[in-house]
Symmetry: C2
Subunit: 372 residues, 2 copies
Amino acid sequence: MRGITEEDIENLAVGAALLGTGGGGDPYLGKLMVQKCIREHGPIQMIDPSELPDDAWVIPTAMMGAPTIMMEKIPNGDEALKSMRLLEEKAGITAFATMPIECGGLNSTVPFVVASKAGIPLVDADGMGRAFPELQMETFHIYGISGTPMALHNERGDRVMLETLDNHMLEHISRGIAVRMGGAAHVAEYMMNGADVKRTSIHGTMTLCMELGRAIRESQTTKRDPIEAIKEVTRQSIYGEALVIFRGKITDIERQSTDGFVRGKARVSGMDAYEGQELRVDFQNENLCAMIDGELQAMVPDLITFLDQETGMPITTESIKYGFRVICLAIPTPDIMRSEAALDVWGPRYFGYDTDYEPVECIQQRRGEQHV
Amino acid sequence: MRGITEEDIENLAVGAALLGTGGGGDPYLGKLMVQKCIREHGPIQMIDPSELPDDAWVIPTAMMGAPTIMMEKIPNGDEALKSMRLLEEKAGITAFATMPIECGGLNSTVPFVVASKAGIPLVDADGMGRAFPELQMETFHIYGISGTPMALHNERGDRVMLETLDNHMLEHISRGIAVRMGGAAHVAEYMMNGADVKRTSIHGTMTLCMELGRAIRESQTTKRDPIEAIKEVTRQSIYGEALVIFRGKITDIERQSTDGFVRGKARVSGMDAYEGQELRVDFQNENLCAMIDGELQAMVPDLITFLDQETGMPITTESIKYGFRVICLAIPTPDIMRSEAALDVWGPRYFGYDTDYEPVECIQQRRGEQHV
């Protein structure tokens, strides 16, 4: 257990935006909310999964909906806590801790707000090790945890207790509710005990986010190459070492809010070694696939993120603009995310691509050999 | 309190389809479900609102969604009961009785199934005196009852407890849930005590449905004109006397299931006195407006229903077919449905028509004078 400070949250927001692969919402808002909580209530306690009693209840909390809409409906910070309370009441339990369901600007920070306001610890883990657009895309789901019952709140105070027979229907119905609640809802779901957290979550991802954020932010003052700093941190993690797959300038960005998601594509015109080439990145809240001149370079569940060429800061889907000079970075996902069962849930075929998953490091290895 | 028999339900289904103004679902399925219940559990007790203790809890039950979809997903009859149970559990009360929210093929019969299976009486009243497509279109809402908390079930067993700040948001979110539940959901809502039932419901509408159904069915054996039989029953009710506004042949029917509703229009080519004229009836689950050669003849909240010319049997929106020979009948709605507050909720402007409400009997009076 350790106390999380405002500085830690500054780092978390940057690192979570990196692992958030373009999604998970704007890191800025979430960061401000948590820092305000820390100023009011003191450091937030973060606990490693190994420290959890096996029978302690953990209730993950999050926002769901289109990140673009979340930026227009600023949460007041109480909604996810209310969802957690509603779930506690329904289940007749008390949450020992809360936990993020994913890494990403908002969804890494929302549970810190809940932890601070409820005076409970936050578990240093999550269920995606990145961000994904749908609720069944959780290691929790893949390893047998029921997402239901699920509580949803909006900023007005409308609320729902949802129980479904399976996690796919949970996603389907709750997405409809989030849309009708105004495009975004604040949720509590995948309630589980400490033993299940240890078994099904991806451990240490909040610490990793903070380390990545610190590496990027420090590189700005030390003038070190932020890519080198990111490579060093990822190399020592359960993720693979980060790979640069493109450098260029954003020439086109399509973005549509439909069915509770932001879907679209970004096109990037190559610079430096990539001069004359074009990168296309498709997204559904999160970046899904990266193609250079029509050839796949990286795909879900590997992480694809745009960084600002100057600062190394990650850029979320809703912030990408024409003319931005970007680095497209890919990070090999942890092995636990690449099992056959996992690829069924979040592999490229699920998102409509007619291709089997190929690890990004293998694609880049092949590509490097072709270029020699 | 009186016992309802299979014969009563036969009449109810016909009369409710008439007052259902084309909506409320297919009467056939609902009728079979109730008759099976009566064979298994004996007569269902129907209670007049005046007989209710003021502090007894009444939980209305219904289906919501597109009637066309309801016909494809046949309910097993337990779903609405489960929703009532979920609401009882949530509120910590026991239902003394259930009640329909509207008149209409399915929604007049669903609460009889619930009453039979739960062994409780059904209140002889409803909240629309006809059928309407949206949940805030209830005298309950107009006279100050909260629709929330609301329970929803589908035939799979997925379920929701929904609480909203107002009845418009209740309609908005629950409609989204019904869509995601597969196009239809079984609901319990507008929980209220006996005093509120007396104050806010339209009394005696189930009895009226049975009388109308009996009049139509008896006219088939006695060879009496069914229209005359309907006029006689409506003349003695809180409704106005039924008016024939058109006779003709269906020449076109447009029907689309969108956003959880069936929307469309029916066109009818005139016969007999109406030769050379064209009637158009617009619907959103229920018939909304009737126009002859572009001139409004009847509009919500007055009741507009198609009857088969041969049998006098009402035809629901989803049963209308090209070539049917029909009578278009209008019934003046009770005064309680014509108050300013009521017309704000279900007048023609709410449905997008750029016109004030004009009572059907006034329009027809004017029209008759013009023809003299």
